[in-house]
């Protein structure tokens, strides 16, 4: 929709961060920004002006630029030694938006939006992704994705800061994964996403819960837990189950526990 209160669109730059004002916002794909009224915003800083390479793959892992679109990510051809990259397709599919939205929606935008169901949060949090943040004073901050998404609609960016990229380490990509997802509707917004990831090197298991909870939660085990161990780990974690129009919290908790058990079973060998 037209954002009639916007007076300027400026090319983003590091100098713009220093002059950050109330009413400023970063513009990546714009698919969310233009989907709701934004009465408080006056200026948009266009991140595509940075012209970052969307994906940089090295032996150490892959750096995904914040401006990488879901379409670009879905076309990424990872090394065959990275089976966990199969999560990319599963998470892109979990986006409520259509493939047409993939053409412009960005990985960074989806993570910064910090919706519980954000599938790029699910993807990068489960793969031990690390955020690189450019702060307004010209420095860089790093933090795990699981800490970056703080709550529904809230991220850890300080004022004027931007998400530059997410780095996904090769160690995580070398693991074997299991994925469970459900929505209220056949192609709806996720109500629970549970991703299990097991290391072929040391047998350890990480379970990442998103969508069902207000912020991503990761549980780590040295080896796949049995049913009781899993249940008590989930009890101890006191997951902040989310309540909104996309599913009630009791159902989300049930799905999460059930899927966590299924994921453990699938990754037990």
């Amino acid at each position: 929709m037209d954002l009639n209160a916007i007076t300027d669109v400026l090319p983003a730059g590091r100098e713009a961060q220093a002059g950050w004002r109330d009413g400023d916002a970063w513009l990546a794909g714009g698919t969310w920004l233009f989907s709701e009224p934004q009465p408080r915003l006056r200026r948009l800083h266009d991140l595509t002006a940075f012209d970052w390479p969307s994906l940089a793959t090295t032996d150490a892992g892959v750096e995904i630029a914040a401006t990488c679109t879901l379409a670009e990510l879905s076309r990424w051809r990872p090394p065959t030694a990275w089976p966990a990259a199969g999560l990319v397709a599963q998470c892109c599919d979990a986006l409520l938006g259509s493939f047409k939205v993939w053409n412009t929606a960005t990985v960074g935008g989806n993570i910064c939006l910090a919706l519980p169901a954000g599938p790029m949060t699910s993807l990068t949090a489960s793969l031990d992704g690390g955020c690189t943040i450019w702060t307004a004073d010209g420095t860089e901050l790093r933090m795990p994705v699981v800490d970056f998404v703080v709550g529904p609609g809230r991220n850890a960016l300080p004022r004027g800061a931007l998400l530059r990229s997410v780095f996904v380490p090769a160690a995580a990509l070398r693991t074997v994964t299991a994925f469970r997802q459900l929505s209220l509707n056949a192609a709806g917004r996720s109500a629970s996403v549970v991703i299990g990831r097991r290391s072929l090197e040391d047998g350890s298991l990480a379970i990442t819960v998103t969508a069902a909870v207000a912020r991503p939660v990761q549980l780590r085990f040295d080896s796949p837990p049995n049913a009781d161990e899993l249940a008590s780990a989930l009890d101890r974690a006191e997951l902040p189950y989310h309540d909104d129009v996309h599913g009630n919290p009791e159902w989300r908790e049930h799905l999460t526990r059930m899927y966590a058990a299924e994921v453990c079973a699938e990754l037990s060998w």
């Binding site: 929709m1 037209d2 954002l3 009639n4 209160a5 916007i6 007076t7 300027d8 669109v9 513009l27 714009g30 698919t31 969310w32 233009f34 989907s35 709701e36 009224p37 934004q38 009465p39 948009l44 595509t48 599919d93 409520l96 938006g97 259509s98 493939f99 047409k100 939205v101 053409n103 412009t104 459900l182 209220l184 509707n185 056949a186 192609a187 709806g188 917004r189 109500a191 129009v245 599913g247 009630n248 009791e250 159902w251 989300r252 049930h254 799905l255 059930m258």
Partner: protein, 869 residues
């Protein structure tokens, strides 16, 4: 920017989305359904890549090439959409085609996923899939487009190329735009409005407030008889009765200016106590919403917030229950849902060179709206013209005057054209919805299979205004009760004012609510009597010679002009037994079957009038003027077939001009399933007379002849619908999968089988939305919390099963050419059929809708036993 091959020099505004930029440059085929990236009606290609143009920043396309529906090369795809009739109202079609044109083979093989960003509210998607997959099988050309052939909709070629002009697909010179200031409070008196800051904004032409509004009381509801609805509304009121009520109207030279100025209108309120629950609203001491209204306002009892009431007792229910072997009593809650026609409410008003007020509007009732404007604005009939362009869906939501009055007043004041367009969010909180109802049903029956008593109590929530409150309440307990042969029937119901958004007309008009309650209860009673539920219905449904009794004995003007109910039941039962449908998905799934049945009077009570005029055209063919509106109901096609059959020609020889108060003398409107049976009757008569005149002349040639026809809708018949489902339910997730959906309709003569089938498919899909996912939410203060289509899930491609559609072989003694209506009624039996199937599968009787996965899971897990009933 290059748009459809032509270079455009203009610069987009900073925060402008591509959709509005394209429309400003004449690309009216780029539609607004949601303006939020959910519905896909605005889909275009940017450098060949499909995007939702409403969420695409316009400035990003400055150096790119944009292709809209207007620039898409004509070809196979558009032709297939026409031949498969992959549209009804046609509003989603340009976006659907632009999306389909960009699909890969892999995506075409997985349409549920590929089309999740394209919503159609009319079709139920089966015909869209047929169009995209190329499965259309058009009928062979025939000499005569006789009734009973699947003639294609005349608008097809214009729809698939984006040339069909919907309400706002025009740009009069000097157009002004209106934005409404709406109340943030559920109940308040306006102490003061200061519009000076808004008026000081350059480009602002006018701010209307309650001091500008005529004092005339009216109802936004449109009916043949003005007295059908309480007159409880004024154009702009000093009292606000729901959060979202319009308070002021700002008129400016652009939407952006009007929007900015609207925020500068200062309104001071004195808050009043508010009541949002209908039960609380009728209790002693509740705030009164309309205590200020005169007795002439036709409010049933303003002192107790009762907009309308009904009370009736036939036979003796106490005796009936006393002789029953089992009595079942339960309260059913039917929730609030919204029409979600993809074209939001919109209109443009201007003064023509003769000084007449002209309103182009998205309405089902141009003539009734004309009459209302005359009354409210104190203008003679000949000084007002109301017409529609193509209307992008209605479903009852456009049987109201929600925009026309206020733009008309602004046009009269400014002398310039003024346009208003509701946002999707405004539809949710500032238009109308289905009436939420709490229905207490008590049924008694004998083990022999006889229904001994029916008692129904209804509390309907009409919201802040009583538009359609009496009609919906009476209709709700009409056919839902008269369908059953039972000597003892008792009904008491009220429709109650609350400080919530007004309810209004909605496809089914009360019946979808009551049929859910009554049919669910019948199914349950049969089980308690150890009787087979379908056999129990057969034993108690009216027979061909029975009188129809519900509220006040037999409605004198309703007759069984045809009777296909048993055949419909047979068709659904044999369909479910056929072995068709999907197999059970796995051994953890519970399987069940259920049936729902419903009846609908073919026309609203008390008359419904239509006038038609048909004339020979110089150079051949005929031009047919009708008053009824086309909004996806397909009546235009039916009218061409009626006229063609009477004149012995083909449908393509009939050009239909419709829905214009200048075109014919009168038409009550396209609601209550009247477009075929009433307006069609007028067309058939006019065409028949013209044929006689032509024959008397000795054939074609000579001075051009014309003839007229009328219809009054005073004789009414009934139509029947039966829905059957086989479902699979997975208790551990709450998922419901529809393995088979079978619908049988008694539509009398099926004038156009392809189109009639599509109406049924669309009705089933819309009803499944209400039964499975849709709910319009209102918080404790009366504020609507649903804002977007993301939060209000109407069925997408992936959600809708294919429905087998069968027709009973009947011909109606009353309807034109033996036809009965079939646009409204298919929705009614769907929700109970689904709930009955889920009951059969799981043993749990759901008394509330929708059956979302979380609710179903909790009920089956036993954790919400009380909620689930």
């Amino acid at each position: 920017m290059v748009i459809d091959g032509a270079t455009v020099e203009a610069e987009p505004r900073a925060g402008q989305c591509l959709r509005t930029f394209l429309r400003e440059h004449g690309c009216f085929g780029v539609k607004k359904g949601c303006d939020a990236g959910d519905c896909g009606a605005c889909t275009v290609h940017v450098d060949g890549i499909p995007v939702h143009s409403c969420i695409y920043p316009a400035f990003r396309a400055r150096t790119r090439s944009v292709t809209t529906i207007h620039g898409l090369a004509a070809g196979e795809l558009q032709r297939r959409f026409v031949e498969a009739q992959g549209f009804q109202c046609g509003f989603c079609t340009p976006g659907m085609i632009m999306t389909a044109a960009a699909l890969t083979d892999a995506q075409r093989a997985d349409l549920p996923r590929a089309l999740k960003g394209n919503l159609c509210r009319c079709t139920g998607y089966r015909s869209i899939a047929a169009a995209i997959r190329g499965a259309a099988t058009p009928e062979a050309e025939a000499e005569s487009d006789a009734i009973g052939r699947s003639v294609l909709a005349p608008a097809g070629p214009a729809i698939v190329t984006g040339r069909a002009e919907f309400t706002l697909d025009t740009a009069p010179a000097g157009l002004l735009h209106m934005k409404l200031v709406r109340s943030p409070h559920a109940h308040a008196v306006i102490r003061r409005i200061d519009a000076s800051a808004a008026l000081a904004v350059p480009g602002v032409e006018l701010v209307l407030t309650h001091t500008d509004a005529p004092a005339e009381l009216y109802s936004t509801a449109r009916h043949e008889h003005e007295t059908d609805d309480p007159a409880d509304t004024v154009l702009l009121d000093r009292v606000v009765r729901f959060t979202g009520q319009r308070v002021a109207a700002v008129v400016a030279d652009s939407v952006a200016t009007a929007e900015r100025a609207a925020e500068l209108v200062v309104v001071e309120y004195d808050l009043l106590p508010a009541v949002t629950d209908p039960q609380a609203a009728i209790a002693d001491g509740a705030p009164r919403l309309h205590a200020d209204k005169p007795p002439t306002a036709r409010i049933a009892d303003a002192r107790t917030n009762i907009a309308a009431s009904v009370e009736s007792h036939l036979g003796g229910v106490a005796e009936g229950f006393a002789e029953a072997d089992a009595v079942y009593e339960e309260t059913f809650e039917i929730h609030r849902v919204q029409h979600v026609h993809l074209e939001t409410h919109a209109s443009i008003a201007w003064i023509d060179p003769d000084g007449r007020l002209v309103v182009r509007t998205s309405s089902q009732t141009p003539f009734l709206t004309r009459d209302a404007l005359c009354r409210v604005l104190n203008l003679p009939r000949e000084r007002v013209r109301v017409f529609t362009g193509r209307v992008g869906g209605g479903f009852g939501g456009k049987q109201e005057m929600l925009t026309e009055d206020v733009v008309a007043l602004a046009a009269l004041r400014t002398g310039r054209p003024v346009q208003i367009e509701f946002t999707r969010e405004e539809e949710f909180f500032g238009a109308t919805s289905r009436h939420p109802m709490r229905v207490r049903v008590k049924l008694g029956g004998r083990r022999s299979g006889r229904l001994t008593a029916i008692s129904v109590g209804i509390v309907a929530n009409t919201g802040a205004y009583g538009n359609h409150a009496p009609g919906v309440l009476f209709h709700a307990c009409g056919e839902s009760i008269s369908l059953y042969r039972c000597a003892n029937k008792k009904v008491d119901g009220v429709s109650v004012y609350t400080n919530t958004m007004p309810a209004g007309a909605f496809r089914g008009y009360g019946l979808s609510q009551l049929v859910f309650a009554v049919d669910s209860a019948l199914d349950e009673l049969a089980r308690r009597l150890d009787l087979e539920p379908v056999a129990f219905r057969r034993a108690n449904m009216i027979g061909p010679d029975d009188a129809l009794t519900s509220i006040e004995g037999a409605p004198a003007d309703v007759e069984l002009g045809s009777y296909g109910l048993p055949e419909c039941l047979d068709l659904v039962e044999s369909g479910l037994r056929s072995g068709r449908g999907d197999p059970p998905p796995g051994d953890q799934w519970l399987i069940g079957e259920g049936i729902g049945i419903s009846m609908l009077d073919t026309t609203p009570p008390g008359g419904h009038r239509a006038h038609a005029r048909i004339a020979e055209r110089a150079g051949g063919g005929y031009v047919l003027h009708v008053g009824t509106a086309e909004f996806g109901n397909g009546t235009t096609t039916v009218h061409t077939q009626f006229a063609a059959s009477a004149l012995g020609t083909t449908a393509d020889q009939i050009a239909v001009v419709q829905a214009d108060t200048d075109g014919v003398d009168y038409d009550t409107g396209a609601f209550g399933s009247t477009g075929t049976v009433v307006a069609g009757g007028a067309t058939l008569q006019a065409a028949g007379r013209l044929r006689e005149m032509i024959d008397a002349r000795g054939g074609r040639g000579g001075p051009l002849l014309s003839a007229e026809g009328t219809s009054d809708g005073l004789r009414r018949s009934v139509a029947f619908n039966v829905q059957g489902f086989r479902v699979a339910v997975l208790p551990r997730t709450g998922e419901i999968r529809i393995l088979q959906s079978v619908h049988a309709a008694d539509a009398g003569t099926v004038v156009n089988p392809l189109q009639c089938r599509a109406q049924v498919e669309g009705g089933v899909a819309q009803a499944l939305g209400a039964a499975l996912s849709e709910h319009l939410d209102i918080d404790g203060t009366g504020r609507v919390t649903t804002r977007t289509l993301r939060e209000y899930h109407i069925p997408a491609f992936a959600d809708v099963p294919v429905t087998e559609v069968h027709f009973a072989r009947t011909s109606d003694a009353i309807g034109p050419a033996g036809a009965k209506p079939m646009s409204e009624s298919p929705v009614n039996p769907v929700a109970p059929a689904l709930a009955n199937a889920v009951r059969d599968a799981t043993g749990v009787r759901f008394t509330r809708l929708p059956l979302t996965r979380d609710v179903v899971y909790l009920a089956l897990a036993g954790r919400a036993a009380a909620d689930a009933g």
